[in-house]
């Protein structure tokens, strides 16, 4: 092998390593959730089996957003356990009346009009189809924020190449378009960007 080939290959290897390993680490920063919320614990101990029990729809079909602290206060009005998380939730947020500033993995720009009701009730999509099966998770997922765009990593998906993504990994507009194309449902620009 010639010297030139070796040097070229070395440069190629460095760039590939930097692009596939170092770049994603540099691009995303990790932020902790304000409270360590465990979906699995709540499902097992509180008997919550339906996502809509906390993530409800309003009468007009719009998604009501994250549950407010009033919902949490139904059980956590006072300390249930002795963990630091419990103390933070009860003392810092519920008793002080301050809403928990959750970091939302799936937050989209405000100019996107997405009707959960149509997708869940009419199209029969499961929550996990888009959000992944986090209802069974026994640990808090790390919230990773893109340093450039400011959006969560969940929007691009965890695979940098976007080629080997699991179902529900990625929430870009192209993902919406792909799903609609597969199902043969046409929606114009104004369907989502009203």
């Amino acid at each position: 092998m010639s010297r030139n080939s070796l040097v070229f290959g070395f440069g190629l290897a460095v760039a590939l390593l930097a692009g596939w390993v170092a770049f994603p680490r540099a691009l995303y920063s990790k932020r902790p959730q304000p409270v360590e919320f465990l979906h699995k614990t709540h499902a097992e101990k509180s008997g919550i089996t339906d996502c809509a029990q906390c993530h409800a729809f309003r009468d007009d079909g719009e998604f009501a957003g994250l549950p407010a602290n009033d919902t949490c206060a139904g059980c956590h009005s006072d300390h249930i356990g002795t963990t630091a998380t419990e103390a933070t939730l009860v003392d810092h947020y519920i008793k002080s009346g301050q809403e928990t500033p959750w970091l939302v993995y799936s937050r989209q720009p405000a100019n996107v009009w997405f009707s959960h009701a149509i997708h869940v009730r009419r199209a029969g999509l499961a929550c996990a189809d888009c959000h992944g099966s986090y209802g069974d998770s026994d640990q808090v997922r790390v919230y990773e924020v893109n340093r450039i765009s400011g959006y969560s990593r969940d929007i691009w998906g965890h695979s940098m190449s976007r080629l080997d993504r699991a179902a529900g990994d990625g929430m870009k507009m192209s993902d919406c378009e792909d799903c609609h194309r597969r199902r043969g449902i046409e929606v114009g620009c104004l369907g989502c960007h009203q």
């Binding site: 070395f10 440069g11 590939l16 007009d60 957003g65 765009s149």
Partner: protein, 558 residues
Amino acid sequence: MKVTRRDLFVWGAGAAAGMVFSPVPWKLLDDVSIWTQNWPWIPQPPHGPIEVKQSFCTLCPQGCAMKVKMAGGCPVGVAGVSGNPVTRGALCPLAFGVHQLNWHPQRLRAVRHKRVSSSWSEARAAFAKACGEGPIVIVDGRPGSAASSVLASFAEEQKGSYRVALSLETRALLPYEAMVSPVIPASALGYDLERAQTIVSFGAPLLDGWGIPGRFTRLWSERAAGMSEPQLRLIQIEDSLSRTATRAWRWVAIRPGSKNALAAGLARVLVEEHLVSARGPLSALTVSDAALQTNLSESAIRDLARTMVAKPPVLAIAGDERPEIAALNFILGSVGSPGGIVRRSKPTEKYELANAAIPNARAVLIDASVPWDYAPPTDAEIFRFAAWDGGSNRADWLLPAPGFLEEFTDVNSAPTSAVETYGVAPQLTKPMFEIHSAAQFLSAIDSSFTNPETIIHQRCADLFRERAGTVYGQEIMPVAELDSAQKFEAELSKAALWVADAPKSASLLCELKEWPSTSPAESPRNWSAAWAAAVLPPLATKLYRESSLREAPDRRTA
């Protein structure tokens, strides 16, 4: 081993090749494009609770009901209200992007005098000085609203003139004013499209933005679209194959400028062949004259007249102010009858029109509701209220007015509506800088005038006192079933719509003394009084320019 300059280049080439096969360029391209949408100076709606409120679009006189999606108290999207009996869930393409307009780069943010930054106090002082020096003229684009009362009262107090810039649809109704007795102003008349079975449109773009966007298109889709023998026949008389003409039941292509001749010819056939009970008066034009002018054959005109009356009620609609079409409606018996021209509301005052000559005025104040391209025919000092600066304009003073949802205001019946309606558009968002409506500006100069909010409260109380009509809000409630005026006003304040009961009798006493003399063809340079936006939201710009849904204002010729 010595590293040479060649090694560096080769290494760089390898790294560049490797970079192409890494996610770096593609991911950076995506992220940077998103980053450019989120620069610090680009307004971002605050994060906060998502709520949907109801209001009315106040951009044009149609006042369509809309649902407004608010994020953290900021409008981020609009949609139609399907339960609204007038708009029936439809909005025009412009309204879909109206929430973007408050942040438009051409939003007027400060007072400008001769294009140079000035202040409200200087503007008030200048207008007060002008009021003391000579007669003033106030031009309003939406007569009948609470703010209009203030404008009219101020003009009267100053012994000035109050004028209105009527929409093109209302101007098409002006010829009926002289026909009905007692005189009913055009702003109190409407088209009973719902009960008409044959509509003959003389160039009116019925399926392309005429009147309330959803009203006729919904009727057409329910009673005509795709039917070989439609319940509602639309005959489009036009010199070009417009959008409406392509979808109409029949398109009658005539020579440009010959609509009046065709109306005269049709009236003559209707009377001569006893197809209608009326006996005239008729134009001196014979059917063969009309055939010559329109480029239709005489038999085609006779066939058209017979087709028109084959499925009554028949309603002829003009695209602009044409006394000949009004006379044709008189011959057809369509004035004051179901499915024709009907009286919508109680007679109101007759307005002086904005495009009449303005002699000897010291100043002209133009309300923000007047289309941007209106230029008063005068050399007087012009005080122009506008939320957006639409470019070249003769105004001496440009005064920033409330934008979308920034003002508590009322919405009267749409110009073509057959029923009287009343709604209140609540203020849903706080203005970002100091803005005043023309009514607030005048109230600040002379505090003795009642402010528009008080007038709206008074109107709600008056409507409730009549105990008539129905309120279309979250529920449909007859006013008679509401407990109190406060509850009625509370419903309206949430952008419910009050709709009057249908009048028991549509009949109007009307008379046509003589066939109107042929009106001169309108020059493209004449201000058409059609509503035009000063600026377009980015979304509508794309729709306007790329799909030619509508002609953009700067391409409109007449």
